[in-house]
């Protein structure tokens, strides 16, 4: 199911653009997950990805507070205060799960045993830098495990809006905000497009259904490579 929505405040407000909602982004990212993967999902849209992993695919979710084999939220009344995810939400485990301490958790992240990390971002630069932890002048809550994850993961997919609430592109030549990590993002999925981060810049791979290449070009401030026909994403 693909929901259509509209930008609220953005440079396209005079257009009627079809684009993905958060669920659409999550569904598209779920297609990047392969059988046998260990995956770490950040807070926000990435968390939704868990709902769209194809049935029957063997995927284990890592929660960096010390769990491999994270399951869905508990049924009402079955919450266990000792069992939470990195977002501090009550969760459950699946058969074959394992608990461990925080040193081992970040140990397996640093040693690249986690195959895929999916997280949100405020900005991504064309060389793969990411900013997602701090806005100068605003209350800073901290980087949590994000700096460890982006510095270590061999495959990082960013799930984010293509433009911010002020209508400014979040895909930039250079990040303006304080960095979380450098040259680490491999792929970006937004409400408009799927893009690879290459040595030459953002490479457009897919358009959201109904979105034109021109619309993506206008929403992208960093260097964008468009080669040949750009197919429409297949979501469901």
């Amino acid at each position: 199911m693909l929901t259509r929505c509209h930008f609220q405040i953005n440079p396209f407000s005079n257009f009627q653009i079809s684009m993905l909602d958060k669920i659409g982004i999550a569904k598209r990212i779920a297609k990047e997950i392969k059988d046998g993967y260990y995956v770490n999902l950040g807070i926000g849209i990435p968390t939704l990805v868990a709902n769209y992993i194809p049935k029957g695919m063997n995927v284990v979710l890592q929660s960096e507070n010390g769990l491999l084999g994270m399951g869905p939220f508990p049924f009402e009344g079955e919450e266990d205060s000792d069992l939470i995810n990195a977002g501090k939400q009550t969760i459950t485990t699946v058969p074959g799960s394992a608990f461990f301490d925080s040193a081992m958790s970040f140990g397996m992240i640093r040693s690249r045993k986690v195959n895929l990390t999916i997280l949100g971002a405020m900005e991504v630069s064309e060389n793969g830098d990411i900013a997602n932890w701090k806005i100068p002048g605003k209350m800073v809550k901290g980087m949590g495990g994000a700096m460890d994850l982006v510095a270590s993961a061999k495959n990082i997919i960013v799930a984010m809006q293509h433009v911010n609430k002020a209508g400014e592109s979040k895909l930039l030549p250079n990040c303006d905000l304080p960095l979380t990590g450098i040259r680490c993002v491999k792929k970006i999925v937004t409400e408009l497009a799927v893009l690879d981060v290459t040595p030459e810049g953002f490479k457009l791979l897919e358009r959201a259904p109904g979105v034109t290449v021109d619309e993506i070009i206008k929403a992208t401030l960093g260097r964008l490579i468009v080669e040949g026909d750009i197919p429409e994403m297949v979501i469901d």
């Binding site: 010390g66 939220f73 000792d82 992240i109 901290g142 495990g145 960095l179 979380t180």
Partner: protein, 235 residues
């Protein structure tokens, strides 16, 4: 060995003003509730607290913030807490934010007698400012790492599920988190447990923290074990 003390008050009685203390837990999960209450009661001030988070307004380390006992927090994620925000913005409270894995590994380093470790976390960011960095080959590619120092804490205060008088500890589920590393890292380590069992009742193969790392242990009371984000699904 019998490292049992009566209660939290006795366990923390020699923690002095301006001490550096580690407190286990992730969010409100696996925090040493009894010792936090005792620290508030004792009124010890000027503390430097190493803890992944800083509690909420009326629970966890938040209780020690309300009484202005904390001079500095070293954490990876804070601010679920209005009083924290107020003190930080007013400059009353010093805050050092460090990556979560760096926090965990600096504890591990202390417990394992390694003066420093190398991590890629924070390379190219403001976390790297003033730190030594160094390149190593990783999977055939040169990669940059920061040198991060082992923590040096006067006390570590941890919460376990079960323990014995030797100080052997077993943790439960994700309430384990930072507790085992902090237990290893304190000059003096205080453990509060939900259940204190006689020596020999714990399976020696299942102990997460061997007693050699623990100096004082007691069975805590009235655990609230508050949930921060209650998320459920319908049947």
């Amino acid at each position: 060995m019998n490292k049992t003390v009566k209660n939290a008050d006795e366990a923390i009685k020699d923690i002095q003003d301006y001490a550096t203390i580690m407190l286990g837990g992730f969010g409100l999960c696996g925090i040493p509730e009894n010792c936090i209450t005792a620290l508030v009661k004792k009124g010890v001030k000027g503390l430097t607290c190493i803890s992944n988070n800083a509690g909420v307004d009326n629970f966890g380390i938040g209780l020690m913030l309300n009484t202005r006992q904390v001079k500095k927090m070293i954490s990876s994620y804070v601010g679920e807490n209005e009083e924290f925000e107020r003190q930080m913005l007013s400059g009353e409270l010093e805050v050092e934010l460090i990556p979560q894995g760096t926090l965990a590994t600096r504890c591990l380093a202390a417990g394992y007698g390694m003066p420093a470790i190398y991590t890629p976390a924070g390379v190219g960011t403001e976390v790297a400012i003033g730190k030594e960095s160094r390149k190593f080959m990783v999977e055939g590619v040169e990669k940059e790492f920061l040198m991060e120092m082992a923590f040096d804490a006067d006390f570590a205060i941890v919460k376990a599920w079960k323990g014995d008088p030797h100080g052997n500890l077993i943790f439960r589920e994700t309430a384990r988190n930072f507790n085992p590393m902090m237990a290893m890292a304190g000059k003096i380590t205080i453990a509060e447990v939900e259940e204190l069992v006689p020596a020999g009742s714990l399976d020696p193969d299942q102990i997460h923290t061997p007693g050699i790392y623990v100096h004082r242990i007691f069975q805590g009371v009235n655990y609230e074990k508050r949930i921060e984000q209650r998320t459920v699904r319908k049947r």
